[in-house]
């Protein structure tokens, strides 16, 4: 059965019967697994005797549902992807839900079901959770926070400190799909389009690189996009990065929307892509490891790290052979007016 009420009220956060019903009939129903015990105050986890990885993330996306995902699936993918790019297999998640008074239960069900499905696909258990109800006007419908525990399984060290001059950058697929999908879903610009978010688990991608020697570092380009990851690598290593415009995969529809609104795809968020830095002699095998996966068909070698001074920390070799400086993101990109 599902919750009798059609909307969340403050009573669903009062610790009493309403709250128990909400937890049992919405959360536990979609997230049930061997570890989750909604009656316990804490839970015992059995962890292997290896390097344990730990991370946390908060989710406030608007709109809550968009083509290709929802805040529910995002809350799983965001946190487990941070573990995956660190070389870990995600094992457990905790979940905090901050729900606004008046939120529709049917939508909550969809979001939690999405979350449960994303977790089971990855094989991660939601082992602990908490819900709070906020008074009307104090929250964007629902906010989620997840904390993840994983076990390090990459055969070598993965860190910025491993990056060397001459190393190669790869991206696992087209960039900017998530940013544009969410923007179109807001319908703020009177534009419609069928661009699906790339929100997905990157675990198959990061696992595939475990058999490739010479992988130095991986990161998922979320907020701030590809350029922000490149700047982070450049700052940490003191090296410069030159990206090849012609090599960076961007879907034509994403290009079109960017041209219309004055956005730049290199700064748009992805939620299911990986940027990897690999040794020069590992680039080909890393690329073919990705290309053999469904989620890596459009993977590409997109740039290199070098010590010579060109334009600045991150630059783009344009299709006509010019060199463009890619600045660090300054503020929220705004649409231009002519």
């Amino acid at each position: 059965m599902t919750l009798q009420d059609s909307h969340i009220s403050l009573a669903h956060g009062n610790g009493g019967r309403y709250m128990r019903e909400l937890i049992d009939e919405v959360f536990a129903r979609h997230l049930s697994n061997g570890t989750l015990d909604t009656s316990a105050d804490s839970v015992a986890l059995s962890l292997p005797n290896e390097q344990i990885m730990f991370t946390t993330d908060g989710f406030t996306v608007q709109p809550l549902e968009f083509p290709g995902g929802s805040i529910g699936s995002l809350a799983v993918h965001g946190t487990t992807n941070d573990l995956a790019v660190s070389g870990a297999d995600p094992l457990y998640l905790s979940l905090n839900a901050f729900i606004e008074e008046g939120f529709e239960v049917a939508q909550l069900e969809r979001i939690v079901a999405d979350l449960g499905q994303a977790a089971s696909e990855i094989g991660v258990s939601v082992a602990a959770g908490d819900t709070k109800v906020l008074p009307r006007g104090h929250g964007g419908g629902i906010y989620l926070a997840t904390t993840g525990i994983g076990v390090f399984r990459h055969p070598g060290k993965l860190a910025m400190s491993e990056v060397r001059e001459g190393d190669i950058l790869l991206v696992s697929g087209p960039i900017g799909d998530h940013g544009i999908s969410v923007m179109l879903a807001r319908e703020q610009f009177g534009l419609r389009g069928e661009i699906r978010s790339d929100a997905a688990s990157v675990l198959p991608l990061t696992k595939a690189l475990r058999s490739v020697p010479g992988v130095r570092f991986m990161r998922d380009p979320t907020r701030g996009g590809l350029v922000s990851v490149a700047h982070e690598i450049a700052r940490a290593t003191g090296l410069e990065i030159t990206l090849e415009e012609a090599a960076i995969p961007v879907r034509p529809a994403v290009h079109t929307v960017c041209d219309m609104l004055g956005y730049d795809p290199y700064y748009l968020a992805c939620e299911g892509r990986v940027v990897a830095v690999v040794a020069p002699d590992a680039a080909k095998s890393a690329l073919s490891a990705w290309k053999s996966l469904a989620g890596g068909a459009d993977a590409a070698i997109i740039g290199e790290l070098h010590a010579t001074r060109r334009l600045g920390p991150v630059s783009l070799k344009t299709e006509i052979g010019g060199l463009r400086f890619l600045e660090e993101l300054e503020d929220d990109p705004l649409p231009r007016i002519c």
Partner: protein, 369 residues
Amino acid sequence: MARSAADWLERIQTLDLPRKVRIMNVCGGHERSISQAGLRNALPPNIELIPGPGCPVCVCPEEDVYQAIQLALHEDLTLATFGDMLRVPVNVRKTEIRSLEQAKAAGADVVPVASPQEVVALARATPERRVVFFAAGFETTTAPVAAMLAQGIPENLLVLLSGRLTWPAVSMLLNSGDIGFDALIAPGHVGTIMGPEEWEFVVDDHKVPAAVAGFESDSLLASIYSVLRQMQDGEPFLDNCYPSVVQPGGNPMARKLLTDVMEVTDANWRGIGTIPGSGFALRPEFSRHDARKILPDYGDEARRRMGEMPAGCDCARVVLGRIYPDQCRIFGVACTPRNPVGPCMVSDEGACRIWWSSGRRTRAEQAAE
């Protein structure tokens, strides 16, 4: 078949060029495309590309931005405007509210919008509340505002119009006696609305080579090649290097809407002064939607005279193409995108902002040292 950007570049490289050629672009979108494609460092070094007066945010009069801020602060209304306008600073003391963004932070009801449709939807959603649309822009942005008014808008929606025509500014430059450029790249989007013929005076009256260009590298390089060939042959003509979009006569419907709803007036350009026949004003039939007629005027003559550019800011000369952004004394020093002093450092169409974003972070003098 259309040539590729690489083809055009190769053809330009084989031309026998004079020691120095200065080509001005009119549109901020062109300057942005030029920077993003890295055209300056791909072209032969004797070709100088000069950013011109094509940033509507940059030339919007200070008194209009000031008026919008005061309306948002002191009147009970929603002030809607294009996102670029939010951060444009006015010349008031640092302790006072200097931009619409600061007014918003101080509690004023300021809403960034991306289209006139969005403003109409906003006004419809709050019929009991006055919504003022502060609409700054060139012909391309002003035509949709005219269409919005022609279709009929909710009674609670007023327009604070700051529309400008681009060609009179170029005409003023060409008539000033001190022409700082040898050829002109005319704006493609404006040509789409108004037709390329508007730019014939550049060739006919001033014998300056000109070409209308689009925003991709191939069209921009084609226009650069065209004006170089025109110079070489000594036969300037107005070329259309954006024929897929720019048609003779422009868009008759859009032009009719502009004429039906607005009249052309003399208008003030920030830091430049009044340019005859360069502005749009609402016709009397639309007075009841004209914020300038309905709402109190917060400006006064004294601040109007001093309210041009802040001290030290050289935006006016940048807009006129007289100096490059990095020749301004405060470029990258006191004036950065985070703390813009002049309007050219604010908008994505502003030359200073584009140059900063393309990696020029220091003044030319400093860089030379």
